[in-house]
């Protein structure tokens, strides 16, 4: 009986993200900090440090569902590129165990490294045509600050999460998380390196829960 149930879950679960009707949805607005640079004109984001706090500028938040979810055997590769002497995207949420590639699209050397406790790595200097594309697997959750040893102003963030359910808000703070499992969870909103808000949510299959982070 127990075994049968397990087998069933094993068949069903991988299909979950793709089966819309069996999913719960969470949506809402995260109250983002006021942008220091006023209205956004260009879509270019950067990571800024205010005191000891890192955040994107203009502000963005990452909303994710916390809980224990099984780790898939393989996760798709992600990329944080270096383009025009900046990380693109500047903020990348990934699930634990994801391999992230750091392709160099500039005509110069970059030397990407991180001293963050969640992931220390040093890719060394490499040129755009470096193959294979230098990459790292992020297998500890936490915030990783990306830097370039050659271009001191370059700053990027990788938020390593234990969950596959996460999304970046739109510039106005709106988010919509789909394909969530039903059950009792905690929904969290990462706003900056020092600020993460959370709210408990009851997810029911086929229902949309509205959660706002004030």
């Amino acid at each position: 009986m127990r075994l049968r149930r397990l087998v069933w879950w094993g068949v069903i679960l991988p299909l979950v993200p793709f089966s819309a009707f069996a999913e719960a949805i969470a949506e809402g607005i995260v109250q983002l900090p006021k942008s220091r640079s006023g209205p956004v004109i260009s879509k270019r984001y950067e990571i800024v440090m205010n005191g000891a706090t890192l955040s994107t500028q203009p502000p963005l938040a990452v909303v994710y569902l916390e809980g224990s979810f099984s780790k898939p055997a393989s996760l798709p590769k992600k990329q944080v590129a270096q383009k025009d002497l900046a990380f693109l995207p500047p903020l990348l949420p990934v699930q634990v165990g994801t391999r992230v590639e750091f392709p160099n699209f500039d005509d110069t050397y970059h030397s990407i490294f991180s001293y963050s406790p969640a992931k220390r790595f040093d890719l060394g200097r490499y040129r755009p045509e470096e193959r294979p594309i230098p990459s790292e697997v992020f297998d500890v959750s936490g915030l990783v600050t990306l830097r370039c040893d050659i271009h001191e102003h370059m700053r990027g963030l990788i938020l390593v999460l234990n969950t596959p359910h996460f999304v970046i808000t739109s510039p106005d703070g709106r988010f919509r998380l789909t394909g969530l499992p039903s059950g009792h969870y905690t929904l969290k909103a990462w706003i900056d390196s020092k600020t993460t808000r959370e709210k408990p949510v009851d997810l029911k299959s086929g229902e949309t829960v509205h959660v706002d982070f004030p």
Binding site: A52, S114, Y115, R120, T145, R147, E152
Partner: protein
Amino acid sequence: MTAATTKANRRAVRGFRTKLSAAMMLVVSAMTALGLYLAQRNVTANANRALERDFQTELSSLDKLQELRHAALAERCRALAAKPRIHAALEDNALDLLYPSAKDELRDLMEGQEPPSDQAASTLHAKFYRFLDGDGSVLPPPNAKEVGPLGATAEAQLAFKNLPQKQQVGYIWADDPALDTVNEVTAVPIFSTETGDVISALIVGFKPLEPGSKTTNAGMKSGIWVDGRLHFPSLSESAKTVLAGKLANLLANAGRGQNSSTIRVNSAVHLLFFKRLNPDSLFPPAYQICVYPLASWSTQLRRLRLRIGGAGALLLLGAFVASHFAAVRLSRPVEQLEIESEHDRAERARAEAALASTADELERSTRYSADASHQLKSPLTVLRAGLETLLAREDFKPEVYEELSGLLHQTHRLTGVIDDLLLLSRMDAGHLQIASEPVMLNPLLEEWLDDLEALPDAPEVTVEKDIASDLCVAGEKQYTSLIVQNLLENARKYNRPGGRIRILARKENKQIVLTIGNTGRPIERAAQRHIFERFRSVGDGAVSGHGLGLNLARDLARLHGGDLRLVRSENDWTEFEVRFRLMESKANRAA
């Protein structure tokens, strides 16, 4: 008596000479002493100034080296702070990676041999370095060897309560007391390139810069006073104790800033300077201590003193000789003067004696002639009275009357002689006072001419007169009249029958010149010189004269401020000239 005086005078002259040379030597000695004093004071002041200047130069060169070092370190830290890895280590809470990240950047600080002290400032060779975290605490290095070993106590001294905003210089003692080592540390704040805040600090420890490398002052010793302890490797323990005691005292009173004093170290006087090395620092105050032995200066001073003293002595000797000669030279005129004055004194004494005797004689003779005149006059008066009584009788023969009349005439002459003598003696005694009153000359002459014509034995002479009417003589009428009478009588008396008398009177300057000339036998040339002498009658036996008239007339003329002289006596013409003072009467002036 004269010999004794001379001896005394010699002594006095010798005394003068001694005093003169003593005074000169005194002046020279005083000047030498003054020179000695001034030179010594000058040398002492110069020594102090020179040493102080040395010290200041040392310290300012030290300051400059330190500034250079600080500038280099500041630049180093600015560059360091810009390094992404340092940033990452500091900001991403990866402080364990700070030292490895900085290792490459600061490698040259720790590499190589310790340079010689004269290059210490330029090479930036550090003994150790440490980072402070955001709270001002020392970040423990993972590998002490790479960042330079430092004891725990010393390391604790590097911490701040808050991170400093600017560079701080401090001096810390090494842990091991046996080492007796002081390290100079410079704390350089590291600013975040993002926020501009101080996020950390780099502290670099050096061997303290040592003064004295720039100058050749070999005797100078230097040390550092920090934390109430003295680091002074070149001094012995006992000397250090003395110095430390003195310094503690001085610093307690002097506060910050540079100061100086003298101190006796190892029984030799030293000049002591101290100056705060790290003014306005958050580290405990540290002082540079410099000690200069005054020994070389004092030997120099002694040598100089000796030289000046020698020069002074030489000068004194020279001055002694010179002053001796000068005194001899100067006193020579005085000696001469003395001799001459002695001679003069004798002369004077002689002259005075002669004068006194002359005066006595004169007095005596004057008194004599006065007495004689009086003695003569009384019997003469009696005689004349007798003769007049006899003439009044009518019972004598006519021959007797003639005889009596002749005798009476003689008594008159005798009275005249006696009067003249009396007058002369009064003049000789200086008792005759001549009044100065106006005497009209013309009436006087007329009067006498009338009188002369009235004389019985008057020869036939013509009188020519050319006299201005308003001539007025300054004198006494009685004596002026006497002079005129004398001259007129002579002119008549020594004339020849049918001769003439010419009387001229004129003004000349402020004198009246009266000339009386007469015809008649001239006075012999040989006798002309003697006519004004007493009892020298000019004429021959035929003419009567007692020989006092001209003498008296001249003396009176001179007393009147004029004179009488013979103008000429030749070719039947004898002419006298008498000069009187002109009386400037109001009438005269008006005329």
